[in-house]
Amino acid sequence: MEQKTESSKAVLGRLLERHYQEALDEKAKGGLVAWATSISPQELLETMDIKVVYPENHAAAIGARKQAESFIEHSEGNGYSVDICSYARVNLGYMEIQESAAGNIPLPDLIFCCSNICNTVIKWYENIANELGIPMILFDMPFNHTYDVSDESTTYIRRQLEEAIKTLEALKGKKFDYDRLKEVMKISTETARSWKAATMLATAKPSPLNGFDLFNYMAMIVCMRGKQEGLDLFNLWKGELEEKARLGLGPWKDAEEQYRVMWDGIACWPYLSDTYKVLKKYGINMVTSTYPDSWTVIYDAGDLDSMARAYSSNYVNRNLDFGVDNIAKIVEDFSLDGIVYHSNRSCKFMDFRQFEVQRRVEARTGVPSVIFDGDQTDPRAFSLAQYEMRIQTLMEMMRERKEGGQ
């Protein structure tokens, strides 16, 4: 009875704790633990029963607990520049300190890196592999400067998946079970669909979801995509949101949703509640971001070509035209009033096309937007005053537009 009434948030907390504990236990008994990038082909690890933790998740958690600075300073003391990705600085610091109030993760025996999110992870993970003297599997996903993933890229990636399977077989000393892979791929796709469907419920007006919750559930889609528990969790969350939408409930109990915006880029983890409260103060609900699609990795179970294409299709591995179409569609699907662009000092790939994306999306949709300076985990690169000023500006623009009848 108790289990039935457990909320998805409670399940989330429990699963996350278990996820880290299992990895620590595995390490303690001498098993193999991998560190993987957030949108990597985890299906291969799951199939081989290799425990995996995600440094990006962990760095974000450290950031959200306002613990990032000591790790960052440690890395900078080792010679890491203040200009590189702060997730990397947090993680490379953690690798040596190995103690965090945000929870601990075991050191890896294997690096599992996929460049569909950026080239930076190649450098970051190369350094981990080098420092710890452990093997690294790299899935190099060629940047899609054409609109779609080319056949040549697909073949190159599929062959890397096959190569990785051989490496994993050698590391684990057992044959790769393709039937099991098919099963994991099926679950992963279903979980991805469930995640996407849940996040799409925010299209309702008012939205039953506030996007800062989305940031919390994101940790789970990163680490639970290939697991039945993950699928169950997202189905549960989806059910909760459906119910809220059916009852016409908005994101907050104590305030009305007046404006709907999307957040472009990663959250400012150290200021998660500050950034949230400023929006809420003005009745602005962040209903979505570019994230829901990032883990909507959909392919045909058992088909490695289709899997290769799906992993390479992540929006940060796509060209500018796709980036613009993607956001323009979000504006339409979610009936947005505005867009908040996070110029994230950590993420040069997202930054150096952001101005052009903003111009084109605005030209196409007419929806106003602002850009603020921040960082995903380095607390020194964000000013709450500047952020609030930008949000006020956005609100003025959204209000004028609404009053103008648009």
Binding site: N119, N130, L138, P142, L320, E356
Partner: protein, 373 residues
């Protein structure tokens, strides 16, 4: 001397490229950092031209790029927006880093001429799958170049181009091996500009000039000005004002581990291959110790140590291009290796346009004194 002539070309690349186009009637193709398949451009009967930024004031580019973008890319975009590259028929923009990926996309939008060709270098370049992918990219470029020139590029043309480039690479290696014996004549600034001229000349002509320049040097008695040799590492070492600080402090370049210099010519194409494109693809597999190329073995530190040992250099100077993530990630790893080996190390942050090179004078002087220069 011939080295002065070559150094002069690096100072006025536009003149060299325009003259070449006027003299030969050939088209010119821009090649963004850090590596482009120049051999293929050469085989197409066109002049590959290096696009390595410059001392440009940044204004229009700020509409596209935030302040924390590397100065080379900011300068390239600014130049593109100002029509500086109009004489080029195309610009090849590879995708070695996140900034370059954005540059290709921004270029397509912002710069009407020259058009851009995004070239995707595989990072898993040692796997056969990577070699095959690289070959498919080369085929794609080949077709585009044929479209521009209106003529087929035969395998024989590519073989000949590879031979020209291997000769250029050998000539450049001989020059950098010879130059430390002449620290006064070939000071840090001259050395850099002589090597940089390669980006703006026909490589066969450049190689011939460079061989003659090296022969001219070898005919001179070795110089001993009490100067100490250092190894430079980084993306590039510019501007001239920065390099002058080395001579002023009685330091010269014993060897370099710079992407813009020795990494361009350290590795030849393999002698054998299934096809000339295969040889070009496999050359990429053989290029190690570069921050822009996946290298889980991280051989860079050992390579720098090897250079220090081979040349008897007194120390290493890190020329860190501000906002270059790949270089910034490499530094802590090789720093540790160099420190462990007891090699003196000086870390300097640079930008292409430096009003503040003078601020580095004291640091370079102090380092030189420590090395006994």
């Amino acid at each position: 001397m011939i080295i002065d002539e070559l150094a002069g070309i690096a100072h006025d690349p536009r003149k060299s490229v325009d003259e070449h186009i006027a003299r030969t009637g050939k088209k010119a193709i821009g090649c963004f950092p850090v590596y482009s398949p120049e051999e293929l451009v050469y085989a197409a009967g066109m002049l590959p031209v290096g696009m390595w930024g410059g001392q440009t004031d940044i204004s229009k580019a700020t509409q596209y790029l935030q302040s924390f973008c590397c100065s080379i890319m900011k300068a390239n975009l600014e130049n593109g927006l100002n029509g500086v590259y109009d004489a080029l028929s195309m610009a090849i923009i590879p995708t070695f880093c996140d900034t370059l990926k954005c540059m290709g996309e921004v270029w397509k939008t912002a710069v009407p001429k020259p058009e851009c060709f995004t070239f995707v270098f595989p990072q898993n370049r040692k796997l056969e799958a990577g070699v095959d992918f690289m070959r498919s990219e080369l085929e794609r470029l080949r077709a585009r170049l044929e479209g521009i020139s209106g003529a087929k590029i035969g395998d024989g043309d590519i073989e000949r181009a590879i031979a020209v480039y291997d000769e250029y690479r050998a000539a450049a290696r001989d020059f950098v091996k010879t130059s430390p014996s002449y620290p006064l004549t070939v000071n840090a600034r001259v050395r850099h500009n002589v090597l940089k001229a390669a980006f703006f000349m026909d490589k066969a002509e450049y190689a011939a000039k460079l061989r003659a320049a090296t022969a001219e040097l070898k005919a001179l008695p070795p110089e001993d000005g009490g100067s100490r040799g250092v190894v430079l590492t980084g993306l590039l070492a510019e501007p001239d004002g920065f390099l002058d600080l080395f001579a002023d402090s009685r330091l010269h370049v014993a060897a370099d581990d710079l992407v813009q210099e020795s990494k361009q010519f350290r590795v030849d194409a393999p002698k054998e291959g299934a096809s000339p494109l295969d040889r070009l693809a496999r050359r990429l597999s053989d290029m190690d110790g570069c921050s822009l190329l996946y290298d889980s073995a991280r051989t860079r530190g050992q390579k720098i140590l090897g250079m220090v040992k081979d040349t008897g250099a007194a120390g290493v100077v890190v020329c860190m291009m501000k906002f270059c993530d790949p270089e910034e990630f490499d530094y802590p790893i090789y720093k540790k290796e160099l420190e462990k080996a007891g090699v003196p190390l000086l870390y300097l942050e640079i930008e292409q346009k430096m009003d503040s090179a003078e601020q580095l004078r004291t640091r370079i002087q102090t380092f030189a004194e420590m090395l006994g220069a």
